[in-house]
Assembly symmetry: C2
Homo-oligomer: 152 residues x 2
DNA sequence: TTTAGTGCAAAGGCTTTGCACACCG
DNA sequence: CGGTGTGCAAAGCCTTTGCACTAAA
């Protein structure tokens, strides 16, 4: 766990400059969440942080989360039912490489998987459509093993 | 054009029951937008409809758009900069088949392309991750031919 | 000492909802 | 008529912003 916290702290250092108490708390919490792989809302994060520091402001969490998303430390996964959850991105923290997400429509668990659309396929679409592709997003929605009825 | 309008009206019939003036106007406007392939916000749609019927309420547009999204008549494309645009879905209206979107990050044009991740690849991920995949979303972001600097 | 960072509360956007009325069937 | 659909305005969410204050370097 300490590994993740350290890396998140380093990432924050690389962005903003100062190590404040709120950011430190946030890094610690995100370290835990990274291990568990849970998705979370800003509200949930804020609530959790206030357990440690009751005066910590909501805006601070929003501001820091935004920075972390820009820095690709956090991913934002959009379930199509209106739910949107942040998740610590394994790619930047433990070098899992290029990945996309499996999103469970029932319990909202999010998992990374490292497979992707082959580059030559993207290239083909790009040429055919005369469209310069810079990035892409791919999410598979369904049910995780805990939410699915037992298989035969 | 009339083709699209007819199909959208039919789709609305299939959902709600009554043909009201607001819904008719909305179907006509969406017919035009389907031909042009433009993405739009609810606000833009509302503004356009008020040109025909100044007393048409914003809530009506929201309510109808929501129904159409649920019915997969409209797609919602999420640019990652906060922009979200609706688009008439070719798949349900003119049977273009399974498709995904090319989204221009500059002018916010949205185009459909019919290529997709091969089913056996999805199947492989599904088995490997022990995750039952029900649906997926794939969007390619980049620059369309009009927003891109001239190629050599 | 300097200035990024913070907390608070207010303001913003966008979307939904409650309610009385309108109007389709 | 009966009940869906509508318009309006108010309320709800989630997020951002302004400002004075705190504290890191």
């Amino acid at each position: 766990m300490s590994d993740y916290v350290q890396k998140i702290e380093n990432a924050l250092d690389a962005l903003g400059e100062r190590k404040s108490r709120p950011r430190q708390l946030l890094a610690e919490k995100l370290g835990t969440l990274a291990v568990e792989g849970h998705g979370f809302t800003v509200e949930e994060l804020w609530t959790a942080l206030r357990a440690e520091n009751p005066s910590l402001g909501r805006a601070t969490v929003f501001r820091t989360v935004k920075r972390l998303v820009d820095a690709k430390i956090l991913d934002l996964i959009d379930f199509l039912d209106g739910t949107k959850l942040y998740r610590v991105c394994g790619e930047s923290l433990i070098d899992t490489g290029h990945h996309h997400h499996l999103a469970c429509l029932q319990c909202h668990a999010i998992r990374e998987f490292t497979f992707c659309l082959p580059a030559d396929q993207i290239e083909r679409v790009s040429r055919k459509e005369n469209f310069w592709v810079q990035s892409h997003s791919l999410t598979l929605y369904g049910l995780c093993e805990f939410c699915r009825p037992q298989q035969p």
